[in-house]
């Protein structure tokens, strides 16, 4: 039980009433603008004292209104990457990075400055003043600064929003390594980007207007068709776990999951490793017959589990593939033409290139 949050708070018209528990790993706080994500993360950091409730990190009580416990932010050792970077304007980038170093206990573990600078591309910026940095550069320095304070947990409020895709691709695996490496650094991660969340999160907390709509292990929450409106239609999809079987010479990797084999490009994991795949509903085609002469390499026999017809032209089809479920988003016209109904056996067609590296996790 890495993080327990159970708080109520009012600010003006807005009222927060949030309760969730996060185990190890990365917990994503997902919700629309104004849902209360920053408010929650501020409460965890100790920058805001909620009206009532309890917050505990690693079992240590940080806030408890009943027993009048309130640990000040400086004592919590939570590295906070703010939505606005909040760099110290009077210090150079280097000094900003080193700011927190002296306050961590001697035995605290964390990444060293060199590796952080290299990864975040900060080395050429070290002697610069924050005022001369671009938006994305500031955000990277802020992330580095939080990491180098050797926190027990990382709080990140949309840290990658102002970064370009390529930079994100570099930083995301790093965050995963922090989580999985010897530090096992837990992260509370606020994001609008479902792909980031799906890749990173172990626990997903869906927040809406200050209330938790759904919370739990990522796969449970993501596979729930009820979560689709919250996540966004384009982003709905299933998350499955697969084992790396072999790397072929042409760069494709064969992976095995309960529903069969998949051939995907760009998988970095070692043979035998378990990885997580996010298969977007819109990337899954359904075919009555096994298609031939098609560029898609992944054709899996599946059974229709359920068909959710919306009021629009789209439909969500749940496909059972072994013990896993896939989600497919097709048109209602196709549902009719293919006469899809629960129990109907058919084939799921997944393009190898659709499941891109960003959706391949641990």
């Amino acid at each position: 039980m890495t993080l327990e949050v159970q708080i109520t708070h009012r600010a003006g018209d807005f009222s927060l009433d949030t309760r969730f528990i996060a185990d190890e790993g990365i917990t994503a706080l997902f919700g629309r603008s104004g849902a209360g994500k920053t408010t929650v993360i501020n409460a965890v950091a100790g920058l805001l004292q909620p009206d009532a409730g309890r917050i505990a990190v690693h079992g240590e009580v940080m806030f408890d209104s009943k027993n009048a416990v309130f640990v000040p932010p400086a004592k919590r050792r939570l590295g906070y990457v703010f939505q606005d970077a909040r760099l110290f304007p009077h210090l150079s980038v280097r000094e900003n990075l080193q700011f927190g170093a002296r306050y961590s206990p001697a035995d605290a573990k964390g990444p060293d400055q060199d590796s952080v600078c290299t990864l975040l591309g900060l080395t050429p910026l070290l002697d610069r003043a924050p005022a001369t940095l671009s938006g994305g550069e500031k955000q990277r320095v802020a992330l580095g600064r939080a990491l180098l304070s050797k926190p027990r947990m990382l709080l990140m409020d949309e840290p990658l929003a102002s970064l370009d895709g390529a930079r994100k691709q570099e930083i995301l695996p790093y965050l995963e390594r922090l989580r999985d490496g010897p530090l096992r650094l837990p992260i509370l991660y606020v994001s609008h980007a479902v792909d980031e969340v799906a890749r990173l999160a172990d626990t997903l907390v869906l927040l809406e207007a200050g209330r938790v709509q759904k919370a739990g292990p990522l796969m449970d929450v993501m596979a729930d068709p009820a979560a689709v409106p919250l996540l966004g239609v384009r982003e709905a999809g299933a998350v499955i776990e697969a084992t790396v079987m072999a790397h072929a010479d042409d760069g494709l990797t064969r992976l095995k999951f309960s529903g069969g084999d998949l051939h995907l490009p760009g998988v970095q994991a070692e043979v035998g490793a378990k990885v997580r795949l996010r298969v977007l509903a819109q990337d899954v085609l359904v075919s009555r017959d096994r298609p031939v002469g098609l560029s898609a390499l992944n054709i899996l026999p599946v059974t229709v589990q359920a068909v959710h017809l919306g009021n629009g032209p789209g439909a969500a089809v749940v496909l059972q593939a072994g013990k896993d479920q896939l989600l497919s988003r097709i048109t209602t016209r196709a549902v009719k033409e293919l006469e899809l109904e629960p129990g109907q056996p058919c084939f799921a067609v997944i393009k190898a290139t659709s499941v891109a590296p960003i959706s391949i996790g641990r």
Partner: protein, 229 residues
């Protein structure tokens, strides 16, 4: 129209007194400014009013009050004298007078600067583990450097110019308590003393200009460092 020995002596003493007064006032003024800007406590309004008082009272009154409290025959004055600190009729008293008269100016400048610091930066420092003192020393203090500078130059200028409270509290003894303003006033007390006074006024101006110019230079340097992000 060369400055005579009295003038040089007065200048030396004034500089000495002003430097001491300013140096002693800075930490105190910082503390009071911080209290006024960031804390709320009972008696805050009183403290605030007390700080402003030397501005409102005619300096002579402040001088008399000092004499009443710290005079050699007053209990506090006698107590300090036992401790080896003679204030009345001593340059140390001139320091005290200058300090008190310049204090409101210093506090105001520093307080304004503290109030202008974005508390979000202090919060950020706290999340990095910095205890309150470190936050003040490593974030607040450097960010208010322009305000400290402004307060310091004002306090110094006021200390250089302080007259009424000083002459009342420590008298006007050449070489001991006769500051530049006292010397100027004394020169003006006898007919024909104007030219002697003028020389000393020029001296005072030069010191003031120097201090102001120095502070501007430092301020520019500080500002360049704190260029907003």
């Amino acid at each position: 129209m060369n400055p005579d020995a009295t003038a040089w002596e007065a200048l030396r003493l004034s500089l000495w007194v002003s430097v001491w007064a300013t140096a002693l006032a800075i930490p105190l003024a910082l503390w009071v400014s911080w209290l006024l800007a960031r804390r709320s406590f009972r008696g805050k309004a009183l403290l605030n009013a007390l700080v402003h008082l030397p501005l409102v009272l005619p300096p002579v009154v402040t001088g008399y009050l000092l004499l009443i409290v710290f005079g050699r025959t007053a209990p506090v004055g006698r107590f300090l004298e036992v401790l080896g600190l003679t204030l009345a009729f001593n340059w140390t008293g001139a320091v005290l007078a200058a300090l008190i008269m310049g204090f409101p100016l210093m506090v105001r400048a520093m307080r304004l600067a503290i109030e202008a610091v974005d508390p979000k930066l202090e919060e950020a420092a706290a999340t990095l583990g910095a205890p309150r003192w470190s936050v003040f020393g490593r974030v607040t203090l450097p960010l208010i450097a322009p305000g400290i500078l402004a307060g310091t130059v004002m306090g110094f200028a006021k200390a250089m110019g302080e007259f009424g409270a000083t002459i009342t509290f420590v008298a006007n003894i050449p070489g001991q308590t006769q500051t530049l303003p006292s010397a100027i006033w004394t020169a003006l007390q006898i007919p024909g003393g104007e030219s002697q006074a003028a020389v000393m006024v020029v001296m005072a101006c030069i010191v003031a200009l120097g201090a102001v110019a120095l502070s501007e230079m430092l301020a520019r340097r500080v500002a360049a460092r704190i260029a907003r992000s």
